[in-house]
Symmetry: C2
Subunit: 119 residues, 2 copies
Amino acid sequence: MGYEEVCGVTAVDRRKVGRVRRKMMAEEQISRMAYFFQAFSDLTRLKIILALEVEKELCVCDLTMVVGVSMSAVSHQLRYLRNLGVVKNRKQGKMVYYSLKDEHIKELIHTVTEHIHEE
Amino acid sequence: MGYEEVCGVTAVDRRKVGRVRRKMMAEEQISRMAYFFQAFSDLTRLKIILALEVEKELCVCDLTMVVGVSMSAVSHQLRYLRNLGVVKNRKQGKMVYYSLKDEHIKELIHTVTEHIHEE
DNA sequence: TTTATACTTGCGCAAATGTTCAAGTGAGAG
DNA sequence: CTCTCACTTGAACATTTGCGCAAGTATAAA
């Protein structure tokens, strides 16, 4: 299948590479996964997420206090997280309340905490 | 404790914000966590990680084949992942073999896969 | 209606990120 | 020794990112 066409390298173990190609998920799915991880890779966004884990529902004001950047920045990131399906919002009068959209996130955080604490 | 000094906002629920501040992890730990998530947030790095999950050990050549960017790019990202403690390497002659450093990563991937597939 | 408040959004900028190119390292073959 | 191969590294570059500013929307109060 022309492995060498990708680069000039010759020492490839074709069997291994073949196995990986067959077993690994599709490019598009990996892409979505990477994009999802990006949600957690920024300090502001991660603070927002962790705050919403402690307190189920917070308005943009409260989040601004907790995170410590401008309300504009928080709002930008909230849109990002909303588009990604990590948070949802509920309007009530002038206020907008945000909360986490699902519970897998606690698991995620837990797993990573374990990784960080070991070694 | 002067919440209003952070920004001009007035509609803050001080009790909620206080609770979050007390319960949330320390800034430094959040920072490390964000940095860790960054490992998984890039397509090249994620492909490397997923490839090493399928095939326990791969040389830089093989990884280059799988990922589809230059060997230089792969090498840069491998250093990044090594510094972060996600992968380790083993030299044997001219070849360098990389593998995942710990098993929590499978859990992580599994949790995220679940999240992505639902809704 | 006018004013204030809670939040959103477009724009521009500075900083961070990922890639390639080209040079460099180190091990093995000839 | 020289040459090749597998890999690493530093620099330059383009792209992406996250932020604040300033203007805008929507709701509520006066």
